[in-house]
């Protein structure tokens, strides 16, 4: 039989982290294999093609589409010619050469096409440079010419369940609040500019805005309320595909929606690196090939890196799990039994289950699909 693995989010103090940085189009690799880079080192560069602007020349000049090419030639221009903003790119003479009409290009660029059907001219604006930074500190281990580099670093890795906002780099700052306490404005320090704040749960929109206004680059909390997220984003999120939002502060939720305390393991791992430079990314993609938001701290301490990696681990008796569905949503338990046969659960469905002991000592039966391994 093929194996089924329970999903689990990582909270590792020592692990090897490999990040592949890739260009969206062919470009230039700035570093070489073996180079040591910082998180803000530029590793890749490319020229992004400029916008193509469609100029409706025939309509504007009131001439036939077929006359546009001649009008362009009259100015000594053709396909591939460069034009500056304000240059006349088409000129038409009326009856007996009188009543000249002309079209000035509103953009600088290069003529890409001239359409005989509709008299449009396509002007492509100059390319704009694109730079890609390393994101984490480490060693360049692989270079694919014109395309990508891979960077290896050693440090702590924590995955959240959901996030919004893109990559940020800043110092970690643990908030003076317990994991099961609702975060309030008074918990946000005034000097949190450029910092990544960690702690508490269920911040209101006012708290989130206060942290962003104070200049924090990231906020990591146990849970969030649906309405606070909507207000922070400015719209309702329908599918958990995030990371491209234009937000001043990246927000990462470690447990889920509602009122859920941050896992003690997460605050313990991150708490060990208070004041260290962290790289965070809220990008989430809950599909096949799932991407979860992450907090990375490179510390170059390689102790136990291999033994802590639980990727692809199956369910076993004695394993600590988090229950992810009502009536036990958010609780932690230890697996006590893994019966082979499917059982009928309260909903009436027949499914593979497991038995687990809650932290309060009671034994519960839950579907195997409703647990996450706690790293």
């Amino acid at each position: 039989m093929t194996s089924a693995f329970a999903p689990g989010l990582k909270a590792l103090q020592f692990t090897a982290m490999e990040k592949t940085r890739e260009l969206p189009l062919k470009g230039e690799v700035i570093v070489a294999e073996g180079d040591i880079v910082n998180s803000d080192t530029v590793v890749l560069m490319a020229d992004l093609p400029g916008n193509l602007n469609i100029l409706r020349v025939a309509e504007r000049l009131g001439i036939e589409p077929s006359e546009v090419a001649a009008g362009v030639a009259r100015k000594g221009l053709k396909i591939d010619s460069k034009v500056a903003k304000g240059d006349i790119i088409c000129e038409h003479s009326g009856l007996f050469g009188l009543f000249k009409s002309k079209y000035e290009s509103p953009f600088a660029g290069r003529i890409e096409y001239i359409s005989e059907s509709n008299g449009h001219i396509g002007v492509r604006e100059p390319a704009t440079p694109l730079v890609v930074r390393a994101y984490i500190a480490g060693t360049v281990t692989k270079v694919v010419p014109h395309k990508s580099v891979t960077i290896l670093g050693h440090g702590a890795l924590v995955q959240g369940i959901f996030g919004v906002g893109g990559e940020k780099n800043g110092q970690l700052r643990m908030l003076n609040v317990s994991n099961d306490k609702e975060l309030t404005i008074s918990d946000i320090p005034s000097d949190c500019g450029q910092k990544i704040l960690v702690g508490g749960m269920s911040p209101s929109i006012d708290v989130i805005k206060a942290a962003a206004k104070a200049g924090a680059l990231g906020l990591v909390v146990g849970s969030i309320d649906d309405s606070a997220l909507r207000q922070y984003l400015g719209y309702d999120l329908g599918v958990a595909i995030t990371g491209d939002e234009d937000l001043p502060m990246t927000l990462i939720v470690t447990e889920g929606f509602g009122r859920l305390p941050m896992s003690p393991k997460i605050s313990e791992v991150l708490g060990a690196y208070e004041g260290k430079l962290a790289s965070i990314n809220g990008a989430t993609q809950v599909r096949a090939g799932a991407i979860r938001p992450e907090i990375l701290v490179v510390h170059d301490d390689k102790r136990g890196a291999a033994s802590q990696n639980h990727e692809g681990r199956g369910l076993e008796v004695g394993l600590k799990v988090r229950l992810i569905r009502v009536p036990y949503f958010g609780m932690y338990a230890t697996i006590t039994e893994l019966p082979h046969e499917s059982e009928v659960i309260e909903s009436g469905a027949k499914t593979r289950i497991l038995k687990a002991k809650l932290d309060n000592g009671s034994i519960v039966t839950v579907p195997r699909a409703n647990v996450e391994i706690v790293s």
Partner: protein
């Protein structure tokens, strides 16, 4: 591997889905063609494996283990199967597959006028099994820069451009090509692949469209999709979409080159295969059919219905953002929390509903453990089906733009020729597919979800697809249609129930609206406002008579007319739905809960 229908006895079929690769074995047994074994494994098209054949081989291994039939030869370089020899218990004769891995076939379509060529392009793409990422047209209400910005960020597999009738104006369709050039979207697969573009518009603009797009695209042209306003010619474009799917999409997706080499039958997009199976079945039996496959991310709706000329018309739509897990929050947004709540037989705060559904969105593989949580998901399903049907009805319409002869009756009826082809009262069969319907713990729950969501009218048969086998059967039907239909009827479709929902004046609420007889014996009465289920006759075959109580009641045969039909009743029997149409919902929460409790109790469901 052979594809000769007369010599095959054992067929292995897979559907490589986004998350799971499902394999089934079809065998010619002493009882005829049957689906005998199944196996599944996680799909491996994404990193870190990035090879679809790994997941497929795992699913074959599972079938091999449960069936005891040796299927895999151990050959890792070539075709990996043991070839069967006659009645041997080992090997297979044929391997076939469908695919929607990596999100299925994704297309952008463009036309000149939204309700004419752009709509035809959409129908061609959807009918071929694609998800339409965006539909461009000159009159779609967006500024040019907005369209360019949107398309620039999409990664389609194929683009279909249409526009203009043959011999008509060229300028607008050329503009669509210009817009595509300005956006220059990158194809999803293959770093070096040029964007595959199909041109199916005014034939006189072909050359210019091809020239404009030459720097960024590989363009092939086919016959115009709307050669005249009166004619819609979808087949050439659909056929080329299938060719492109194999040549430019599948062959670049990780591992598909090898998978394709294992089968002599072209790999089909999953929804294309499902559509083919439903269409062939409906046409052969002369039935009006509505089928929905509600998945985690999307909901596909298929219909085959008679148009006013009596021609059977097939339509498919995809509600790309309505689903039960990845897209569950979209259903919440589109339907609104209160519309989900109105189906619940218990109280739950809006905040609790919102947070629970968002938690499902971020942990999509979790399943309901409590009955309350199950009913919440089933409430979401009703709304997703309702919204998907609305979307489907908007596209399953007659052709716009054609000149029509309109009689006096059409004028009074405000008929525009643009009415939906889906008439709920003429619907013979609804089919539900997808986990929430196929695997509902109680079949009565599946029946009630479809009855509520679609607001079925008259007499309708309700069925579910047992294990989502329609894709496998669709591709199998391309070589052996009879065998595919035999398996469809015996192992795939589960006949759940028949529902009877008369339409009547409001004054008949709390009064008898119809009497129901089965094989000449009265089995029940339909009362205005009430719902009941007759389970005693479940599974029986016989003559059903529905006799309206007065001349202003329509039980599905016309006002005051008796409906008589020979039917085979489903697993849960006959549902008598006197709730009238459209369904009305109480204004306050307490009454709403109490009403739903009565409905669940009438269906014999636990509350």
């Amino acid at each position: 591997m052979k594809a000769d229908k007369n010599s095959i006895r054992t067929v292995l079929a897979t559907d490589c889905g986004s998350t799971t690769t499902k394999a089934v074995l079809f065998e010619k047994t002493s009882e005829g063609w049957r689906q005998t074994y199944r196996g599944e494994a996680p799909t491996t098209v994404e990193e870190p494996v990035a090879d679809v054949t790994v997941g497929a081989l795992n699913s074959f291994t599972e079938i091999q283990e449960v069936s005891g039939r040796k299927i895999l030869s151990g050959n890792t370089k070539d075709v990996p199967f043991v070839q069967s020899k006659g009645a041997d218990k080992n090997g297979i004769d044929l391997y076939i597959s469908t695919s929607s891995a990596g999100g299925g076939l994704q297309m952008i379509v463009g036309g000149v006028v939204r309700e004419m060529t752009a709509q035809s392009a959409e129908r061609a793409a959807l009918g071929a099994g694609a998800i339409v990422l965006d539909t461009l047209s000159a009159d779609d209400g967006r500024e040019e820069y907005e369209k360019i910005e949107r398309v620039r960020h999409l990664k389609p597999d194929i683009v279909l451009i249409t526009g203009g009738v043959d011999g008509g104006t060229k300028s607008h369709v050329v503009e669509v090509a210009e817009m595509l050039l300005a956006a220059s979207p990158k194809p999803r697969f293959g770093d070096t692949l040029r964007l595959p573009v199909i041109y199916a518009g005014n034939k006189e603009a072909r050359e210019e469209v091809e020239r404009i797009l030459a720097p960024i695209a590989h363009v092939e042209s086919v016959e115009n999709i709307r050669p005249t306003l009166e004619v819609e010619n979808l087949k050439p474009a659909r056929d080329l979409i299938h060719d492109f799917f194999l040549k430019h999409v599948m062959s670049h997706a990780p591992g598909y080159g090898r998978l394709i080499s294992w089968t002599p039958v072209p790999v089909m997009p999953t929804p294309g295969a499902v559509g083919k199976m439903i269409n062939d079945f409906a046409i052969r039996r002369g039935l009006n059919v509505l089928a929905a496959d509600i998945g985690g991310a999307t909901t596909d709706v298929f219909s085959v219905s008679k148009d006013p000329k009596g021609e059977m018309i097939f339509n498919r739509t995809v509600s790309a953002n309505l689903g039960m897990s990845y897209s569950v929050a979209n259903v919440l947004i589109e339907a609104g929390t209160n519309n989900i709540k109105r189906w619940l037989p218990f109280g739950l705060s809006n905040t609790e509903i919102n947070d629970r559904l968002r938690n499902k969105m971020i942990r999509p593989t979790s399943i309901p453990q409590t009955i309350e949580d199950l009913y919440l998901e089933q409430a979401v399903c009703r709304e997703a089906l309702r919204l998907s049907l609305n979307h489907h009805r908007s596209l399953a319409v007659g052709l716009s733009g054609q000149k029509q002869k309109r009689g006096i009756a059409d004028i009074f009826a405000q008929a525009t020729g643009h009415e939906s082809l889906i008439n709920m009262q003429q619907l013979d069969l609804v089919i539900g597919s997808g986990g929430v319907l196929s695997h509902a713990p109680d079949r009565r729950q599946a029946a009630l979800m479809m009855l509520d969501a679609y607001q079925l009218e008259g007499l309708t048969q309700i069925a579910v697809d047992s294990i989502f086998m329609l894709p496998h059967l669709g591709v199998f039907s391309t070589i052996h249609p009879e065998a595919a239909e035999e398996i469809l009827m015996r192992d795939c479709l589960i006949n759940v129930a028949h529902s009877i929902a008369p339409k009547f004046p409001e004054k008949l609420i709390n009064k008898k609206v119809a009497t129901v007889k089965f094989n000449s014996t009265e089995v029940g009465e339909i009362w205005g406002g009430d719902l009941a289920i007759i389970e005693q006759i479940a599974g029986r075959t016989g003559k059903l008579e529905i006799i309206p109580s007065s001349s202003n009641v329509d039980v599905g045969a016309g006002l005051g007319e008796i409906l008589i039909k020979d039917i085979e009743l489903g697993a849960v029997g006959l549902i008598l739905d006197g709730r009238n149409r459209p369904l009305m919902f109480p204004d306050n929460l307490e009454n709403s809960i109490s009403k739903q409790q009565k409905i669940y109790a009438a269906m014999g469901l636990k509350v």
